[in-house]
C-alpha cells in the first residue's frame, strides 16, 4: 500500500503502533529494569520506573548462586547441536521431497508434522526409561538427540518450502555439467538456499533454546540448560524480584540479542517459509 499519506495520518499510525509495540514489549522491559534495582525498590509501592539506584548486585548474586556459564554453555550446545544435526538430516530429505516428488511426498510431509502432535507427556516415561537404559539421562548428547527429533519435522518442512522455490532446471543444469549428487547439493543447492537455511537454523535454534518440557524432565545437574536454570527460581525461596529479573534477563538475553541482529532472516524463518 505504497501511497502518499498525510503526515497527520502517519503520525497517528506511528503513535498507535508505538503504543501497542511498547505495551507488548513492556513485560520484557520491566524485567530488564527490575534486574537493576535493589530488592526493596523492586517491590516498592508505588513502583519506580526509571529513577532508582541502578545496581549490578543482582547479577553478581545470581552468578554466585548458580553457575550461569555452565547453564549457558549447555543451552548453546543443546540448541546448536540439535539444530545442526537436524539440518544435516533434513537437507537431503528436503532435497528428495522438493526435487524428486512422488505421489506420497505430501503425505510424508504431513505425517512428519503430525509426529509433532504426539503429546510429549504421553511418552515421557518410556523415553525416561530408554534414557536410563542407554545412559543418556542428564547428558547433553541425549537432549541434542531428543530436541533434534522434535524439531526435525519443522526443519524438513521449512527447508522443503525454501527448496521448492529453487527451479529444478538449475539442478539439472548442474547434473548436465557433470556434477555428482554430492556436488549438486554442496555447490549449487546449498549456496542458493543460504537465506532459507539461515532462517531455518535461527528459528530452530530459538525453539530448541526455549524448549521447556524435555529439558526440564530429562536433566538434573550436569546437562541442565537455561530453562532449568530459570525454573529453579520458581521455588518460593527464590522469589526475590530483582534477582528473578536478573536471572530472567540472563536467560533470554542471548536469544534477544541474536534475534535482533538477524531480524530479517528470522522474520522469514518465523513464517516457516509458508507465507510469502
Amino acid at each position: 500500500m505504497a501511497r502518499a499519506v498525510t503526515n497527520n495520518r502517519k503520525a497517528l499510525n506511528t503513535a498507535i503502533a508505538w503504543a501497542i509495540g511498547l505495551l507488548i514489549f513492556f513485560p520484557i522491559l520491566w524485567t530488564i529494569l527490575t534486574s537493576f534495582k535493589t530488592e526493596a525498590q523492586a517491590i516498592s509501592d508505588p513502583p519506580v520506573f526509571l529513577f532508582f539506584d541502578w545496581t549490578l548486585e543482582n547479577y553478581a548474586v545470581v552468578q554466585e548462586r548458580s553457575n550461569y556459564a555452565r547453564f549457558l554453555w549447555n543451552s548453546i550446545i543443546i540448541a546448536g547441536g540439535s539444530t545442526i544435526l537436524g539440518l544435516i538430516i533434513a537437507v537431503p530429505a528436503a532435497w528428495s521431497m522438493a526435487f524428486v516428488p512422488s505421489k506420497r511426498t505430501k503425505d510424508i510431509l504431513l505425517w512428519m508434522l503430525s509426529t509433532k502432535m504426539l503429546p510429549a507427556v504421553g511418552v515421557l516415561y518410556p523415553i525416561y526409561l530408554l534414557f536410563i537404559e542407554l545412559g543418556l539421562l542428564d547428558t547433553r548428547i541425549g537432549l541434542v538427540v531428543v530436541l533434534m527429533l522434535i524439531n526435525l519435522p519443522i526443519i524438513v518442512w521449512m527447508l522443503y518450502t525454501y527448496f521448492k522455490e529453487i527451479p529444478g532446471e538449475i539442478l539439472e543444469a548442474a547434473r548436465m555439467d557433470g556434477a555428482s549428487l554430492k556436488d549438486e547439493i554442496l555447490y549449487v543447492l546449498t549456496p542458493m538456499a543460504v537465506p532459507g537455511i539461515a532462517s531455518t537454523l535461527l528459528l530452530n535454534f530459538i525453539l530448541a533454546w526455549n524448549e521447556a518440557f524435555w529439558t526440564l524432565n530429562l536433566t538434573a545437574a550436569q546437562a541442565a540448560p537455561l530453562t532449568a536454570f530459570i525454573a529453579s527460581y520458581s521455588s518460593p525461596e527464590g522469589l526475590f524480584y530483582a534477582k528473578l529479573s536478573a536471572a530472567s534477563t540472563m536467560a533470554i538475553a542471548p536469544i534477544l540479542i541474536m534475534g535482533w541482529f538477524s531480524q530479517k532472516q528470522l522474520v522469514r524463518g518465523l513464517t516457516f517459509g509458508a507465507v510469502k
Partner: protein
C-alpha cells in the same frame, strides 16, 4: 564425434504413453531441430537423450556406445535450458567454469577456456558479474558459454530463445547458427516455433503426440509434407487446407500454400471477398472468404497490391504446387 541413435525409444509416465517407440538417427555434426506443438513430447525426447529422464523401453546410443543407463553427467552432452538455469550465486566466470571444475580441469586450462569462450560470446566485460545483473540475451550467452567450454559431443537446446523478445531472438538465432558453423558439433534443438526450425536446421523432426510425423531437410518438409499435419505446421502463413470437393478434386484434403494462389479480378477457380488485408510492404497477406468454404483462405500477394476490405477477387491454385491428402491425412503423389 556426436552420432546419436535412438532405437525403439519409448517413454511412459504411469499409464500415459508420451512417446511411443521411435527410431531416429542424428549424424555427427548435424543441426537437428525437434519441432511440434506444445505437449508433443519434443522436450521429453530431448530430456531422454540428455539422461534427465529414463527411457521406458529401447536404447540410446551415443557414438555407437549404449548410453541408455548412463547418468547425464557422463554422457558427454551439454544442455542449454529455456530458463538459462544459470547458478545465481556464482559470477559469470564461475558459471562457465563450473563444468570444468566438475571435470577436474586444472586452473590454467580453465582460465584459458573461459577467456576463449567469453571472447567468442562477447562476455569478456561481464565475467565478474552475477547472472542477476545481466540482460536476457547476455544470460543466454552465458548458458551457451557454459555449454561450449565442456567441448561436448553434442549440444542440446531446450527452447533457448522463448524467453527473449522478438528482435533479440532473431539475433541469437543467427549467433547459434554461426556457432554451429564454427564448431561443427552436433546440435539438437527443441522449439515450438517452425520459423526457428526452418531457418536453423539441417534436419527437422516434426513431432505430434510423441510420434515422429516426418524427418527431413527444411525444404523437403516445405515441398513434400508427408501428411496434412506437417503441411499445416511447416510454412508461414499456414498452408490452406480445404476439403477436396470444394476444389473439384478427388482428394480428401486439398492443400495450397498462400504463396501459390494466383489472384485475378476476372476469373479463377474460387470467387471470394477480401476480409482483413495485412500490408507488410514486401508482401500483402489477404484473408479471403469464399462462399461454401468453412475457413478463410490466406493469400500471399505482392506488397503493392491495391486490394482492400470488401473487394471481390478470383483465386486459382497453381497446378504444380498443389498438395493432396487422403482420408487418413497422408500425402497422395
Amino acid at each position: 564425434m556426436g552420432r546419436i541413435t535412438l532405437d525403439k525409444v519409448a517413454k511412459r509416465f504411469g499409464d500415459v504413453e508420451v512417446i511411443p517407440p521411435l527410431d531416429l538417427t542424428i549424424e555427427d555434426g548435424e543441426f537437428v531441430v525437434f519441432v511440434g506443438p506444445s505437449g508433443c513430447g519434443k522436450s521429453t525426447l530431448l530430456r531422454l537423450i540428455a539422461g534427465l529422464e529414463d527411457v521406458s523401453a529401447g536404447q540410446i546410443r551415443i557414438n555407437g556406445n549404449d548410453a541408455t543407463m548412463t547418468p547425464p553427467a557422463k554422457r558427454g552432452l551439454a544442455m542449454v535450458f529455456q530458463s538459462y538455469a544459470l547458478y545465481p550465486h556464482m559470477s559469470v566466470r564461475k558459471n562457465i567454469a563450473f563444468p570444468l571444475k566438475m571435470a577436474g580441469v586444472d586452473q590454467a586450462t580453465q582460465d584459458a577456456k573461459i577467456e576463449a569462450a567469453a571472447k567468442a560470446l562477447n562476455l569478456t566485460a561481464y565475467l565478474d558479474r552475477r547472472p542477476g545483473q545481466l540482460s536476457g540475451g547476455q544470460r543466454q550467452r552465458v548458458a551457451i558459454g557454459r555449454a561450449i567450454v565442456r567441448e561436448p559431443d553434442a549440444f542440446l537446446f531446450d527452447e533457448p530463445l522463448s524467453n527473449l523478445d522478438a528482435a533479440l531472438r532473431v539475433n541469437m538465432r543467427l549467433e547459434i547458427s554461426e556457432l554451429h558453423n564454427t564448431l561443427k558439433t552436433t546440435m539438437i534443438y527443441v522449439t515450438h516455433d517452425q520459423v526457428e526450425a526452418m531457418t536453423m536446421a539441417d534436419k527437422i523432426v516434426v513431432l505430434q503426440a510423441g510420434n515422429i510425423e516426418q524427418v527431413g531437410s527444411p525444404l523437403e518438409l516445405y515441398h513434400k509434407p508427408r501428411n496434412a499435419f506437417v503441411a499445416g505446421f511447416i510454412g508461414s502463413p499456414k498452408m490452406n487446407l480445404v476439403p477436396g470437393s470444394t476444389a473439384n478434386d478427388s482428394s480428401h484434403t486439398f492443400g495450397i500454400r498462400p504463396e501459390h494462389l494466383d489472384i485475378s479480378d476476372s476469373e479463377g477457380l474460387w470467387h471470394g471477398v477480401v476480409g482483413v488485408s495485412e500490408h507488410l510492404g514486401s508482401d500483402t497477406f489477404l484473408r479471403v472468404t469464399v462462399p461454401g468454404m468453412e475457413e478463410h483462405l490466406t493469400v500471399r500477394a505482392n506488397g503493392d497490391i491495391p486490394l482492400r476490405h470488401g473487394d471481390k477477387v478470383y483465386l486459382t491454385p497453381q497446378a504444380d504446387k498443389v498438395h493432396r491428402f487422403d482420408s487418413k491425412g497422408l500425402r497422395i503423389e
